[in-house]
């Protein structure tokens, strides 16, 4: 183990975080119309700013960058220059936003009404807002909110308006354009639209990247996009997408601006609006296409209670300081800057690392509600028959234990200490009444259906899975707190001895296996290991000396909890492996993978060979496949008749499956991989 890099343990308990204030409180006291019509005068970037959306378009169309690509495309395709130029302006027209204050005011009015109806409070760390106000004047700003709900960017703009901050230009997926009126309204409140995929389209890429860069360079408005690329259906942070971040860093790397400030924003919902929708989607009910009428059907949500939202504006991260010593910027001076170039190896890895760091920052500043602890506990103690669920007092006692563990691990937990724990628990349970039942002082997941219709076993399983997956999405919120210690706990569990070296290689294997599933910063294995060791030693669960990792007497409970929190994932990955070994046909393609593996898993669940319905999550299955592709256990056939089919390396899959199940030592497995 190359433990030269020593993890410097800063006590996570001491992590300083700001206090929150409720924005809705003010809204409940004064009129919404007055608020929507109030004088809005945001602080502006100190540099030269263009304020008109039309000027912005002209700048993009006249830029050297675009001219170069237009010429290139025209030369390569033989299409006359003017036509390509015209095409470029059509693309830009389709993409660009048209910010109008009147629309923003309309949203300010309606959103105030909606928010007050469905949320108890919207809490914002005002110190973060003040930091943002500062930094907006200094440098171009990129807002990077977490993405859990459609609500996210409406909420962001709403807050920016409330705090007299410049309204952001938001990168939104093209699917919104389908909603005619709403799409246009979003456009007028600052959204610009990008196609979901435009892989080889040079012209599109040029217009798009130049548009984004022009916004940044000219301090037109803060740029806002979602690092995760799409809404996370599982509440786990998604592996960051690098495209937009690459573009956003470009003006700094090329010296066109002095610095760019990246502001991670963590938005946590006590109850996610799309909760069961996501679960259905993960189980294979296809995602409904966004349509305006669909949005109106969503009106019934207005009568429900969605608890509170916490928005945490993290400390701004300066791209300049991130790049210090990492990127040699003079490389960008050797070729004309307007000629598009693929980022070099070092730039790519720099952007990748930065993206992970930012997603980690989002995760760490997510506020956790007591319910996420309850969901974790309930998922682990489902019981069956008469003993289903957990007795309420036991649940309270366990929750308090878990709360303390969480805090020791540095979680950002909002557990109201002034209220008795029993009340905290019962109010959480009542908010999530759709997912849990309390009867005869036992708490259990609401898995049973009303017996009014007869369901097939499979249908019943799927409807139970909806509840389990919904619950799991809350548990997933806390996963990032436990992830590293849990990997260590699982490593200890699977390692053949307590030798530190052995445990480490086991840890390394699991970390590698799950790096598509969870946010694990590339190249930080040693650091993660040290952190896990530090935390588990701190809570007295482990004794670690020079050579050995030993479980402490009172550590069993902690370790058992940690291992079982990871167990569904371990089982799920094994399932995917055994599916590929046993059931995969010759013609299996990536598209047909999910339905096929789902059918396989349903079979196993029904036969009782698998305990966890959450393995049905297509997210988990896809991540597992991605990991196997990365490790080379599965290969995608390129070209030829079988193009796109998956070729399976059975030997390797078998050994991976055995290693995950603890039946094979990691040392051997690692060797097998090489």
């Amino acid at each position: 183990m190359a433990s030269k890099v020593v993890y410097s343990p800063r006590d996570p308990m001491l992590k300083k975080r700001d206090d929150f204030e409720d924005v809705l409180e003010e809204r409940r006291r004064s009129g919404d119309l007055r608020y929507a019509l109030r004088c809005y005068s945001p602080v502006l970037y100190k540099g030269p700013t263009t304020s008109k959306a039309s000027e912005l378009k002209t700048m993009v169309l006249q830029s050297d960058q675009l001219h170069y690509v237009v010429n290139q495309v025209s030369r390569e395709s033989g299409v006359p220059l003017d036509d390509v130029q015209a095409e470029a302006s059509v693309i830009l027209e389709e993409m660009a936003h048209r910010l109008q204050l009147s629309t923003v005011r309309f949203f300010a009015f309606t959103l105030s009404k909606v928010f007050k109806a469905i949320f108890r409070s919207i809490c914002v760390n005002e110190e973060g807002v003040q930091r943002l106000q500062q930094v907006v004047q200094e440098h171009p700003v990129v807002l990077l909110p977490s993405h859990r709900s459609y609500m996210d960017f409406l909420l962001m703009s709403y807050l920016m308006y409330t705090y007299d901050l410049p309204l952001p230009a938001i990168a939104a997926g093209m699917d919104f354009m389908g909603m005619k009126v709403v799409g246009e309204m979003l456009r007028m409140s600052g959204a610009f639209f990008i196609r979901r995929s435009f892989g080889g389209d040079k012209l599109y890429w040029a217009v798009f990247s130049e548009y984004v860069k022009t916004i940044l360079r000219n301090g037109f408005a803060p740029l806002e996009f979602f690092l995760e690329g799409t809404r996370s259906r599982t509440s786990k942070s998604l592996t960051p997408k690098l495209g937009l971040l690459n573009i956003a860093m470009d003006p700094f790397l090329k010296g066109e601006v002095f610095d760019v400030s990246l502001v991670p924003v963590s938005i946590s919902y006590e109850r996610v609006l799309e909760e069961t929708l996501y679960a259905r989607e993960l189980l294979g009910v296809p995602k409904p296409k966004e349509s305006t009428s669909g949005l109106f059907k969503a009106r019934r949500v207005l009568s429900e209670d969605y608890g509170s939202i916490h928005v945490y504006f993290g400390p701004p991260v300066s791209v300049r300081s991130l790049a210090e010593g990492r990127v040699n910027r003079s490389q960008f001076s050797l070729t004309p800057r307007h000629i598009p170039r693929r980022p070099s190896e070092d730039v790519h890895s720099f952007v990748n690392d930065a993206a992970y760091r930012l997603v980690r920052a989002q995760e760490e500043n997510m506020v956790l509600k007591p319910w996420v602890l309850l969901a974790s506990l309930l998922l682990q103690n489902q019981g069956a028959g008469q003993n289903r669920g957990v007795p309420l007092d036991e649940l309270i006692q366990q929750a308090v234990w878990l709360r303390d563990l969480c805090r020791q691990f540095g979680a950002f937990l909002h557990w109201p200490d002034q209220i008795p724990s029993s009340e905290v628990v019962s109010s959480s349970l009542s908010l999530h009444g759709g997912l849990v039942r309390v009867s005869e002082d036992r708490v259990y997941l609401a898995l049973e259906q009303e017996p009014h219709c007869s369901l097939t076993a499979e249908e019943e399983l799927l409807s139970q899975a909806v509840v389990v997956l919904s619950c799991a999405s809350y548990r997933n919120q806390v996963l990032h707190v436990f992830l590293r210690p849990a990997l260590l706990a699982a490593a200890i569990h699977t390692a053949s001895s307590s030798q530190k070296q052995e445990v480490y290689s086991s840890f390394l294997f699991l970390r590698n296996m799950f790096s598509n599933e969870f946010i694990l910063c590339p190249g930080a294995a040693v650091q993660d290991f040290e952190e896990a060791c530090y935390l588990l030693t701190k809570v007295g669960a482990l004794h670690i000396n020079q050579h050995e990792v030993l479980t402490a007497e009172r550590g069993h409970r902690t370790l058992a909890f940690l291992t079982s929190i990871l167990d569904p994932f371990l089982q799920g990955y094994q399932m995917v492996c055994s599916f590929l070994c046993e059931d995969a046909t010759q013609a299996l393609t990536e598209r047909r993978f999910v339905p096929a593996v789902r059918a396989f898993i349903i079979k196993h669940l029904l036969k009782g060979r698998l305990r966890y319905p959450e393995v049905l999550s297509s997210d988990l299955q896809r991540n597992a496949l991605a990991a196997l592709l990365r490790l080379g256990a599965v290969q995608k056939v390129q070209g030829g008749e079988e193009s796109g089919t998956l070729k399976v390396n059975r030997v390797m899959l078998n050994s991976l499956e055995d290693t995950l199940g603890g039946r094979l030592s990691t040392q051997k497995a690692l060797r097998a991989h090489l």
């Binding site: 010296g255 002095f258 610095d259 910027r329």
Partner: protein, 603 residues
């Protein structure tokens, strides 16, 4: 530098007197300590403008500004740096000879040197005088009376053959030679390497200051390399010629120094930089004398050996004689200036001027901060009418034309040639400027802009009296990066100062001073009030280091004309690649295997 006499008489008499006192200083025990003169002079200049309104003048008559009252300077200093008259940092008044380490003399070398009849001295003041250039840390240390490793002896060769003898003796006795010209280095090139254990001899070329011949048919002159720039110009002017090479340091810097550092002159657009001006160079190296066999204007004889000499920074030998181009003194000279609404427009205009290849003898663009500084240096006007006129101009530019006084910037111009052509040229340039929103702003402003260049070096010394330290540094950069480099380096300086605990906002300003076909030379000025800092020079160095890193990151060069010396050595490999370093090293290894020219510059 040593001339404090303020008598009347013509400029020529003044210059002669000045030379005499310098020479006297070399030959005998100087009448006053040179270092003290340096410091005292700053004070003399510095304190006077502040003490009483009657005496707020610049002494001596060397500059157009001499004797004039500068009413705006005090306010500018206070507003820009937060410097006040109450806070003064006194310099050590005179050199304390006991602070100078005793010389390590190589007796055998000294003995043989005596027999050659070349004058020399091991006097403390002579040695200290030649131990430094004009970097901030060097001057600061002198003011504090701190003296590190200094040369052990100074020799004054009188001609090429004297140099040959000295170099031979140095090789024979293994002593270290550091050539000394005008002492205006700003790259720590004159600093004696502290690790040098041999006796260090400073070879002062100041006595080799004659024009040996002028060839009017070919328009060339053969000149000894120790001549000081201003003297060279004055002497050539007597015959109706000039070299046209006018670096900002020309009052003090020498021809040999120009060649050794690849100097650049203000009027390079007409006359060229030093590499364009030089026809033949004679240099004495430990391996013998290197020179070309003819005066052909261009040769294809492999890599140009002159390019090993130019920029060698005293590491290969002593440049003794140079044949360079001369031109007839221009019949007409005209200053000019243009005000632009902002720096971006100004740069765009300069770029266009360069594209059309119609740059006047000199064209420079000052940013807003520097414009304000230039404004502060405006002398008190003589009549109510002029001041009324000034007010009117200001009104016209800021109110009528809508220029923002905090964004506008000014370009200064200098045209040279025959009258008709100058006027024609002037019109062409002003027409281009107008396309970029530029307004002609008069000859006065232009002339004052050029003066600023000379004054700024003195002002630094004045500033030091009031806890303000500063320095300038330069780079060259392609056109498309000019704006970015200016903005980023200036911002980096401010950022770093804040980071390093500087209490007051620093002055961070820049100027585009030269235009080329493919890029420009940019000058940065940077100064801050160091009250409250325990080690201001260290802070200063950290900031300058960061600024240089920023320059390189933004595609700027390591140096346009100041050279590398020891100050910028650490970036040399990055700048020229490892193979490039190897090439230079192998030249050094062949020419000077025993490192007789041991200044350790460049490599």
């Amino acid at each position: 530098m040593a001339s404090n006499s303020c008598g009347g008489g013509s400029d020529r008499q003044m210059a002669a007197q000045h030379r005499l006192s310098v020479i006297a200083g070399h030959l005998q025990r100087p009448s006053g300590s040179n270092t003290a003169v340096l410091a005292a002079e700053c004070k003399g200049q510095g304190s006077k403008p502040f003490v009483s309104s009657e005496n707020r003048t610049v002494p001596r008559r060397r500059y157009k500004l001499s004797g004039m009252i500068i009413p705006g300077l005090k306010d500018w200093m206070e507003n820009t740096f937060g410097a006040t008259l109450q806070h003064k940092a006194a310099a050590t008044p005179a050199l304390n000879s006991s602070a100078v380490p005793p010389p390590t003399l190589n007796e055998a070398f000294v003995e043989e040197l005596k027999s050659t009849g070349v004058p020399f001295s091991a006097d403390a003041e002579d040695r200290v005088f030649r131990a430094h250039g004009h970097c901030l840390h060097e001057i600061f240390a002198l003011r504090e009376g701190k003296i590190g490793r200094v040369p052990d002896m100074v020799v004054w060769p009188n001609c090429h053959s004297d140099v040959v003898k000295i170099v031979e003796l140095a090789c024979k006795h293994n002593v270290c030679l550091i050539p000394y010209g005008g002492g205006t280095s700003v790259s720590s090139a004159l600093e004696c390497p502290p690790e040098e254990t041999r006796s260090i001899i400073s070879l002062d070329t100041s006595q080799m200051n004659r024009i040996l011949w002028i060839d009017e048919k070919n328009l060339t002159a053969h000149i000894e390399a120790g001549i000081i720039g201003q003297d060279l110009e004055n002497l050539l002017n007597e015959s109706g010629y000039c070299t046209g090479h006018e670096p900002d340091s020309m009052e003090f810097s020498s021809l040999g120094g120009w060649v050794a550092t690849r100097a650049s002159g203000m009027k390079k657009n007409i006359y060229g930089n030093i590499e364009d001006l030089v026809i033949r160079i004679k240099m004495v190296t430990p391996q013998g004398v290197i020179e070309k066999s003819c005066q052909g204007p261009r040769m294809s004889t492999g890599p140009d050996i002159h390019h090993f000499i130019m920029g060698s920074e005293g590491t290969l030998g002593v440049i003794t004689e140079v044949t360079m181009k001369i031109r007839p003194v221009p019949e007409y000279q005209k200053y000019g200036s243009v005000v632009f609404p902002n720096f971006e427009q100004g740069v765009a205009c300069l770029r266009e001027v360069a594209r059309q290849r119609c740059a006047p003898a000199s064209i420079r663009l000052m940013d807003n901060e520097q414009f304000k500084f230039g404004h502060a240096l405006k002398p008190q006007v003589s009549s109510i009418f002029t001041s009324f006129l000034d007010g009117l101009k200001k009104f016209y530019i800021t109110k009528f034309k809508g220029f923002d006084p905090n964004r506008l910037c000014v370009a200064t111009l200098l045209f040279e040639g025959n009258r008709e052509k100058v006027l024609q040229h002037e019109k062409q340039v002003y027409d281009i400027a107008a396309k970029f929103g530029g307004l002609a702003a008069g000859e006065d402003n232009g002339q004052r802009g050029y003066m600023l260049t000379f004054v700024i070096a003195y002002l630094r010394d004045l500033g030091m009296d009031y806890f303000v330290i500063g320095e300038s540094f330069e780079t060259s950069v392609p056109w498309d990066r000019v704006l970015d480099i200016c903005r980023n380096v200036k911002a980096r300086i401010i950022h770093e100062c804040k980071d390093k605990g500087v209490q007051f906002p620093p002055l961070s300003t820049c100027r585009v001073t030269q235009t080329y076909d493919a890029g420009a030379c940019v000058y940065f000025y940077f100064a801050f009030n160091y009250r409250g800092l325990s080690d201001p020079v260290h802070v200063y160095e950290q900031v300058e280091h960061a600024a240089r890193e920023e320059i390189l990151a933004n595609g700027g060069s390591l140096s346009h004309h100041h050279g590398v010396g020891k100050l910028r050595k650490e970036w040399m490999r990055e700048a020229v690649s490892s193979v490039g370093m190897g090439m230079l090293q192998s030249v050094k290894d062949y020419v000077d295997p025993n490192n007789i020219f041991g200044s350790r510059n460049l490599l």
